[in-house]
């Protein structure tokens, strides 16, 4: 079953001569339970697709349907409970003056969900944090712990889709692996659909089933991770990405970067 269906999605910023065409008729179909990666250089529009889906940019044109429902241009509560986003920088995505508990309780309060204390406790243990984190402030946590909290916040509304915006790129290499393992564990346990942006082919190999390669706001190629690893990429740009990444992966370390 198709979970996310994007057809001829277009987005531009600015007017007249200064208009920047960010997304050019994007076509994507992501199945339920799939982990889909968006790969490409900076400025290729990967994050913008995520932000359109999440509801931060609302002036896109085209057709997006999620869970067989056509997406409106306004962000509504149902959409919030269906899709949540995890941000790239765990140092900037948690409110510095709120405790972990109030960060996690906020979505529950907004949606009027009760049993907040129990839910927060369960979720903290689900993302590998214990109850002692509850009344700490974000500045008392390490980067990896913060990203766990950010993942917990995205999961607390029990969404079916998680939009991941380079969830590991701001973290140490060792912590990256922990977060990736946590994400793949959570996906299996909760049956989540992931749409994740990365420019790290190591992450793709670890977590994604299929990827789309993007450049200049267009999707060049959609291919399975197996094909990617087998070097069956068709597009020259994809091949270039792979050779660069191979080149770097000769340096010891599991996670490599383009």
């Amino acid at each position: 079953m198709t979970m996310i269906d994007i057809q001829s999605l277009d987005l531009s910023f600015g007017h007249g001569a200064q208009q920047a065409h960010i997304l050019k008729s994007i076509q994507l179909a992501i199945d339920e339970g799939e982990s889909f990666g968006l790969v490409g250089e900076s400025g290729s529009g990967k994050t913008t697709i995520l932000r359109c889906l999440a509801g931060q940019y609302n002036h896109w044109t085209g057709h997006i349907s999620v869970n067989n429902q056509r997406l409106s241009h306004r962000l509504d509560r149902a959409r919030c409970r269906l899709m949540q986003m995890v941000f790239q920088d765990p140092y900037g995505s948690l409110h510095p003056r709120h405790t972990i508990e109030s960060i996690l309780a906020e979505p529950l309060k907004i949606h009027g969900i009760d049993q907040r204390h129990e839910r927060i406790g369960q979720l903290l243990s689900k993302v590998g944090l214990d109850d002692s984190f509850r009344y700490r402030f974000p500045h008392q946590l390490s980067g990896g712990q913060r990203q766990r909290v950010a993942i917990a916040r995205a999961l607390i509304l029990e969404p079916r889709i998680l939009l991941l915006d380079e969830p590991t790129s701001a973290l140490d290499v060792s912590v990256q692996a922990e977060i990736l393992n946590l994400l793949s564990e959570l996906r299996q346990r909760e049956g989540l659909t992931y749409l994740m942006v990365t420019h790290d082919l190591g992450v793709v190999a670890h977590l994604c089933d299929r990827i789309a390669v993007m450049q200049h706001g267009e999707i060049l190629e959609v291919l399975g991770t197996d094909e990617l690893l087998a070097g069956q990429a068709q597009h020259p740009y994809t091949q270039m990405l792979i050779t660069h990444s191979r080149h770097k992966s000769e340096v010891p370390g599991q996670v490599t970067r383009v």
Partner: protein, 302 residues
Amino acid sequence: MTAETSMTASTSMGSTHPNRYQALWTLCQDSTKRLLKNPLTAVGLGVVIMLLLVALFAPWLATHDPLVQNLNNTLSAPSAAHWFGTDEFGRDIYSRLVHGARITLYIISLVTVIVGPIGLAIGAISGYFGGWVDTLFMRITDIFISFPSLVLALAFVAALGAGLEHAVIAIALTSWPPIARLARAETLQLRQADYIVAVQLQGASSARILCRHIVPMCLSSVIVRLTMNMASIILTAAGLGFLGLGAQPPLPEWGAMISTGRSYMLESWWLVAFPGGAILLVSLAFNLLGDGLRDLLDPRSE
């Protein structure tokens, strides 16, 4: 590597708080310690606390009634009976100063209570919504800010009539625009922050985001600004009092005391020196405290 590895690592880091009140309490303790580390701030805080205590216990601290005249003993120099001397009506200057602290504090607190919320609300709303809301609010702010504050206050007092309450209103009208601008600038920055976007994507209403997420972040710089403002409020109030438009005689307002003492200044220096010193001391103290609070509360310094 599994998720368990971080659980063991977590317990070694920092102290744990059994509940949220304890977490806040330790935060307060740390802040106070950091605040008092700077000697100038400690002095400022000390003087402000002293002002509060003097205002609170004015009837007990004063040696004479501030309003009772004694025409047999006018313009007497500081002595054991009258510590700071007496004025042209023979009133005890020390007692008048002590009671004047109440008036000063009354003006400061009333202006701050009016100005803080108004400035914060206008600034945060115009910064958050942008567009025509921003244009409207900021043009209004510009109009108010384009007048020199004392001149605008003079105009308002002239229109409303002299008096303490009118002086408070006039000062409040002139001192909210800088707060609004500050709050707007902070909000513009915060609006882009990931944690605000995150809460937007969770479906929070604009009012909720403003009240619970943006305003607490603006609050620290607004508090610093308000504390710094208190010094200028004191000076403006004293200025209005000096011009005869603030507190009316026989109220022992410090500016008014200087104003009347001016005619006798050359022979009787104490008429002007003590109220002037009090204004200087208190406004300096608020400035020092504001500086210290800025060091403490500025999120960029953490």
